[in-house]
């Protein structure tokens, strides 16, 4: 009976309550409280390449690439477009950059920006006929589209067919690639967060919740969705273009399922809706996957196992959990 009279109570930390209204920030402690979770990870990420050996730097690039894809996924998801086809964005960017370099010998300073923009436009154009779809249906179409393009490349043999295009221009220095990836990743992260918190993002989120209702507010949801597709597509294409030049190779496997599923897994692990979750997720997943490489054959199975266990234990996602622990505490309270 005794324990029935008690219950756990969740409360915001005092410092959060105070610093929520940003004008009231007074002490350095409060400023630190607000800024630390943002700046410490960024600083770590920026300094890390200087201390890592070349192989782990490659892994870091990989993590940023997946991070970009995860961010782009999360961005689309924020406006109700659940995609299972990040590899479409990735592959388009990769192929555009690769083809520009291979056939026209354009340098990376041209191919990467062009691939980013053209990739975004192309993604929006390709997906605009199916923008009306919602939920699973959109997910499935996006899942199929890259597979379709992959088969098209395989069947028609364009862009080198199954062999792909190799010996493309690389980056003059390893560090350039690394910092390009990291900075692209960070810019996306903070840009997306900013967009989503602005009125523009508000509308996107509202479209996710109830597009009929948004329409009744006189907003052209299809145009907005196309814009969202462009933004997400550009982020994904940037990742693809970067990868192409980093490995000096592009092939049909850039449309592979891995590039679609892994980012989603990263978001599921980190927690959707905040971008920080997506970023965190990919920063956990990719290095984990590489660390497991030493295990050989069982690697993927163990990797999946870890993924499953962590999602089951924290269905809300790492980030949400951490954020809650950071901002709130619990205490036992007696019920009157």
């Amino acid at each position: 009976m005794a324990e029935r009279d008690f219950r756990k109570k969740r409360l915001d930390r005092g410092i959060k309550a105070r610093s929520d209204t940003i004008f009231a920030v007074a002490s350095t402690k409060e400023i630190l409280y607000l800024l630390a979770p943002r700046f410490v990870p960024v600083a770590i990420l920026l300094l890390l390449p200087l201390f890592l050996e070349s192989y782990w730097n490659k892994v870091l690039v990989y993590a940023c690439i997946y991070g970009l894809l995860a961010l782009s996924w999360d961005f689309l998801a924020s406006c109700g477009l659940f995609s299972l086809g990040q590899s479409l964005f990735f592959g388009l960017g990769a192929y555009i950059a690769g083809a520009l370099n291979y056939y026209f010998h354009l340098p990376t300073v041209v191919t990467i920006p062009v691939a980013t923009l053209a990739g975004g436009v192309l993604c929006a154009a390709l997906l605009s006929p199916v923008m009306r779809l919602r939920g699973v249906y959109f997910a499935m179409v996006t899942l199929m589209l890259p597979l379709l393009l992959m088969k098209v490349v395989e069947t028609t043999g364009v862009f080198g067919g199954t062999h792909g295009l190799s010996s493309l221009a690389g980056f003059p220095h390893e560090m350039l690639a690394i910092y390009l990836a990291i900075i692209g990743f960070l810019v996306c992260l903070f840009l997306f967060r900013r967009i989503m918190n602005a009125d523009y993002g508000l509308i996107l989120r509202a479209i996710r919740d109830d597009d009929r209702s948004v329409m009744s507010g006189g907003i052209n949801i299809y145009w907005r969705k196309s814009q969202a597709l462009f933004i997400a597509g550009a982020a994904g294409s940037f990742a693809g273009a970067l990868m192409t030049h980093h490995y000096q190779f592009v092939g049909m496997s850039t449309f592979a399922l891995d590039y679609s599923i892994l980012p989603v897994a990263a978001v599921a692990l980190g927690g959707p809706g905040t971008f920080a979750g997506a970023a965190l997720g990919s920063m956990i997943l990719v290095p984990l996957s590489e660390a497991l490489r030493a295990l050989g054959g069982l690697r993927i199975a163990i990797y999946c196992g870890i993924l499953i266990v962590s999602i089951i234990l924290l269905p809300e996602g790492f980030f949400h959990y951490l954020a809650r622990k950071y901002h709130q505490f619990e205490r036992i309270e007696k019920i009157k």
Binding site: R4, R7, K8, K9, R10, L11, L314, P315, E316, Y321, I335
Partner: protein, 264 residues
């Protein structure tokens, strides 16, 4: 507080205590949705719970029907809002506060939820058939027939997908579903919502018919005039607390209740 202890004089014909809730408390995280609420329903009665918006009517219904147990479980699994339940809830003398909804349906407590959540993708007839899940064949046909008699419109619409029905039609169906599930204690959460005046009156009559079949009814409303003629007793809930309890006449005579819940 006093109101909670206050037992009204029993209208004739009412039987033993079917359901009694004592000191019910429900927290959604730190918000108190039901605050020390006590309620009692006797067999064969029609009892109304009146309250304005967010008074806690739905929470009370969910607590009695057990849906809240399920909500609690789900929220817990994914670390969402924490729901805390306290108090005592007895049905035919048995403590049921933590019982699963399906167990409660087996014991005869069936809820018709507010704002008509029906099985959108099935047609009307199938909706009613599904409702007979716990009833082995037998009188399923009869019960469906009863619902059709109650709401002749539904019979006409029986082949239409439920999700395409109009708001009012869906409301009728929602009530029909609960009826087919063969309740002993029928909980109705805002059944009048969206019904035309004609149908509101019909429903009030129907509730009386239902009682005649031996079903006890607990119904919530914000605007109770159409129901007034048929109820025996009523409770008034505000902010999760009981503020008034009384027979129909007592409710009718109380000027505040009249103004707030009867529109007179």
């Amino acid at each position: 507080m006093e109101a909670a202890e206050h037992t009204t004089k029993q209208p004739n014909g009412a039987g033993d205590i079917l359901l009694s809730g004592k000191h019910l408390m429900v927290f959604f995280e730190n918000a108190l949705a039901l605050n020390d609420l006590s309620i009692e329903v006797r067999r064969g009665e029609i009892v109304a719970v009146l309250g304005s918006n967010s008074a806690g009517k739905t929470t009370l219904m969910n607590t009695i029907s057990g849906l809240i147990v399920d909500m609690k479980k789900k929220e817990q699994r994914r670390g969402g809002v924490r729901i805390t339940l306290r108090g005592e809830l007895r049905y035919k003398g048995e403590e049921i506060l933590t019982l699963k909804p399906s167990e409660r349906v087996k014991r005869g407590i069936v809820l018709s939820q507010e704002r008509h959540p029906i099985f959108r993708d099935s047609d009307v007839l199938e909706n009613l058939k599904i409702a007979g899940y716990l009833k082995r064949a037998g009188n399923l046909k009869e019960r469906i027939q009863f619902v059709f008699e109650l709401f002749p419109v539904l019979k006409k619409l029986r082949r239409r997908k439920a999700g395409l029905l109009s708001g009012g039609e869906q409301q009728m169906l929602a009530i029909g579903i609960a009826l087919v599930a063969d309740p002993e204690l029928m909980l109705m959460d805002e059944p009048l919502l969206g019904l035309s005046p004609l149908l509101q009156a019909d429903l009030a009559r129907a509730i009386r018919d239902i009682r005649q079949q031996g079903i006890t009814v607990l119904v919530t409303e914000q605007f109770a005039r159409p129901l007034l003629p048929v109820i025996d007793r009523g409770y008034v809930v505000e902010n999760g607390m009981l503020v008034f309890a009384g027979t129909r006449d007592e409710l009718f005579d109380n000027p505040e209740v009249r103004a707030a819940y009867l529109g007179m």
